[in-house]
């Protein structure tokens, strides 16, 4: 019995470590220059509203209403991982995408629109 408990705890601990690693690794590759960039549109309500429109046009199809994700491969954007990232981390990630895992690159959007998206994502956390 004790052994079973120990195994369960070990698995739970392992899972936590793995989840932690997965959540931090997304932003680990962000170059420090990008990581440090602040959203030039922070605090502007219009940026959030414009970001909501861009979200509807480009992101809703995968990340669903209010960024809740599709419950499958398209993750929720209201998560500790997103709220724990810096503005610069998110803008960098949008520019890169994750082509190998189904997230397109949004380097084709004007930079101002990526910052408007960052403002919107911040507002739904």
């Amino acid at each position: 019995m004790r052994l079973r408990n120990a195994v369960i705890w070990l698995f739970a601990f392992g899972a936590m470590v793995l989840a932690g690693a997965a959540s931090s690794s997304r932003w680990e590759h962000v170059p420090s220059k990008d990581h440090a960039r602040a959203n030039p549109l922070t605090g502007q309500n219009e940026a959030i509203e414009a970001g909501r429109t861009i979200y509807r046009d480009h992101c809703l199809q995968c990340h669903k209403v209010d960024g809740r994700g599709d419950g499958r491969k398209k993750p929720s954007l209201r998560s500790a991982r997103v709220s724990g990232a810096s503005d610069g981390d998110i803008e960098w990630f949008l520019r890169q995408g994750d082509l190998a895992h189904g997230m397109p690159s949004w380097s084709n959007l004007p930079e101002a629109q990526r910052w408007q998206l960052v403002a919107y994502l911040r507002s739904i956390q």
Partner: protein, 299 residues
Amino acid sequence: MMVPRLAAVPRFATLFAAFLMPHLASVAAAQEKPYFVTYSQDLEEPGNLEIETKTALARPSDSSHYGATALELEYGVSAWWTAELYLDGQSTGHQSSLYTGFRVENRIRPLMREHVINPVLYVEYESISGADKTLLEVVGHDAETNLATENGEARREHKHEAEFKLILSSNFKDWNVSENFIAEKNLGHSPWEFGYAVGATHSLRGKASVKDCTFCAEKFIGGIEAYGGLGDTQSLSLRETSHYIAPLLGWQIRRLARLSFSPGFGLTSSSLDRIYRVGLAFEIAQPGGWFHAQKGSTR
């Protein structure tokens, strides 16, 4: 083998449109560039289907005016791989309207990260007749005289071609700059033919407006492209090659469609004097989702 007449195409198109109509509400806007000949690094978003028509209107000297349309079905197989099917047709004044063949194409981004210059590999198989006038690329010693042959005679020539492109593309400071190098081979006994296309675009405004709008500046993308032939392995020279320069304008009409327009100007005596192009694209978001229920969220 006879090439089927164009009469079959409208019937197919009507059926296709009837099937799609109920789904057009799920159309998503794409920030795609208004290039007609040049390719950029933009791929179709995974799971999305884009339906686009690209029409070329021109009048070769010593021949009648014509309109040639390519119907493109573009599908995002994954975030790094887009597959496309083109169905081509044309109509020439005082002659006839006909289906001129199909092309199947794949575009692959070999590098998963964004770089200063992003390569995309393009591979295409074409089965088209000599009457194809869509001019979606210009290679070798392609000249306006090729477009002047009567439809009745031109359609008897069948071409099975393989085409390879190296697409290099950069997005920086709201600009896109793209360069394409083209190598095409008729699978018969013809030599390799070469061509190029280069272009640049910029959206008229970076920031998006707060309200939904139809005519605001960020819905328009302007640009320019240039393309032409670079000879073939038998005569690798610019003599008797065609070259064009074409300003571009793209307009995203809300979430419904993307309209693009481009007047092209021939730069050499082998080129057409002018070629006008019009494109209309509809994007359908995640059509695969129509066939299985959503888990965990509402639309």
